[in-house]
Amino acid sequence: MSLKYWSVWVLVFWGLAAIVVSMVGFQPNQIHLDLILAKPSFVHLFGFDDLGREILPRLLAGAQVSLLVVVLVTTITASTGIMLGLVSGYYGGWVDRALMQITDVFLAFPGTLLAIAFAAVLGAGLSNLILALCVTSWVGYARLTRSQVLSLRQRQHVMAAESLGASTLRIMLKHMLPLLAAPLLVEATYSMAGLVIAEASLSFLGLGIQAPDASWGGMLRDGVRYMVIAPHYVLAVGLSLMSLVLAVNVLGDRLRDYLDVRG
């Protein structure tokens, strides 16, 4: 099937779009008062929003914010979570019990609820948005790493390394981490799709990126407001968001099958 890799192409498109927007002189905040809520045309593909700003450049600027948030939060939470999971699973004992207890507490807050509360208390803005998402999304990595390390500890090559006197750090990094890469990669992919939605949710509630800067969540909120007279606005943003999340999820499914990760 020629469409087999469409998910990759969609991701490449949004990735490039996000990078291009910062290099080419797009002006996502430029206002055309004569074109308020103008319908899409061949020159202006997605039309204009309620303040007369062209939607396409704003979508690209929103993609840039999404990409930045996803990359930063994933880097920070994955490295923290993996480290905690390695230590917890390897040493066991009270360290492990304490960490699992803490993750249980974080898991008691469903979905984006805790991130919403954190963002509300910290105040709006990009850095607080990233902080709120970091605080709440390291748990998955820690739990996954820990459970994998627990079974890896019983593997012969790890025992062999231990009896040869390899240092703990060496065992963790050279003998365990490479075997963790596949399940962690799959986890990270799904988690990225979740982060795109979480960022948009917070911005939708007015907690993330602030006007006039573009974000998909904020644009969706404005689009819903003008849904009756200008459905093209909400449709353009919603479909963009959906295409990105769908592509990341499908990529996750593919990776899971290809790398043969169960669960």
Binding site: L113, A117, A120, F204, G217, L220, M227, M242, V245, L246
Partner: protein
């Protein structure tokens, strides 16, 4: 069972601590954040005393826990009403919405998953897979507007938002339910596929039972176990989804109360909403675990 019940205690304690930290560890002066810079110093002192902010933090937490244990969630800064009353006003609406969403999800997801498993790799399976994949990629704040546009604006069948008419609950419930239905479809399919290869299904067929009895009474009953667990866990995303869905549809529940309290910087109310949802979620998961042991004969007879 008792061990499982006791295991919840530290989690509940931790949840209370984290929500406590949320408000009491606000960067900067919480009183100023809540009242704004123009508040009079008398108002400030009053709020500071009300919140007990002039005491050390461990004393504050002790006071907070003690009040919680007595069912006292504090007073709203904005409306000056006890928060327990505010929540009691809003909880029934959210419960109604969540229950209807759950029944939508089950009545869509379960049959769809069973059909997909029976027609594996044929068009019904592929269609169900496509549907559940696309719906999984639709957050509530995108699913909601689509349903509004189609059913309220274009077809004019249902009200756009609000709570006045009896049919107003349908669109928000569908918004919440579809996401769960998509997950349920995938889970049911996977679980049914595993069960359908088991020996007892072959035995049931060999006994000459009708296909209907084989599928529903023998296969589905065994397949339900993992589904129940997932349902309990996924109920959380449904609860979290009420925050955006209720705001979108002007549904006066706990979710929209949370958003209103954020907008008004009424942090004690926000704290209480988060706490109540988390407690409820913990309880649901505990109940799921207990139900699981009750309906699984293997676990039931082992203990």
């Amino acid at each position: 069972m008792i061990k499982r019940l006791l295991g919840v205690v530290p989690v509940v304690f931790g949840v209370a601590f984290l929500t406590f930290l949320l408000v009491h560890a606000v960067p900067g002066d919480p009183v100023e954040v809540m009242l704004g810079e123009s508040a009079s110093s008398a108002d400030r002192m009053q709020l500071q005393a009300d919140l007990g902010l002039n005491q050390p933090i461990y004393v504050q937490f002790g006071v907070y826990l003690n009040k919680l244990a007595h069912g006292d969630l504090g007073v709203s800064i904005h409306s000056k009403k006890p928060i327990v009353d505010l929540l009691a006003e809003r909880l029934p609406a959210t419960a109604k919405l969540a229950l209807l969403a759950l029944s939508f999800a089950i009545s869509i997801g379960l049959p769809l998953g069973i059909i997909a498993a029976l027609k594996v790799n044929q068009w019904p399976d592929k269609l169900a897979n496509l549907l559940s994949l696309s719906i999984s990629a639709m957050p509530h704040f995108w699913m909601g507007p689509i349903l509004m546009m189609v059913f309220a604006l274009w077809l004019g069948l249902l009200p756009v938002s609000g709570m006045e008419s009896g049919t107003a609950i349908i669109l928000p419930a569908l918004t919440l339910g579809f996401g769960l239905a998509a997950i349920l479809t995938r889970m049911t399919r996977a679980s049914m596929l595993e069960v359908l290869h088991e020996d007892f299904i072959r035995t049931a067929r060999a006994k000459g039972l009708t296909e209907y009895a084989v599928i529903l009474r023998h296969a589905l009953r065994a397949a339900l176990l993992p589904i129940v667990t997932v349902l309990g866990l996924q109920l959380g995303s449904l609860l979290a989804g009420t925050v955006i869905t209720e705001t979108l549809f002007s549904w006066d529940g706990v979710g929209s109360l949370l958003v209103e309290s954020i907008e008004k910087r009424d942090y004690p109310v926000m704290q209480a909403c988060v706490l109540v949802v988390a407690f409820f979620y913990v309880t649901v998961n505990l109940a799921t675990d207990i139900i699981y042991t009750k309906i699984d004969p293997r676990v039931r007879f082992a203990s």
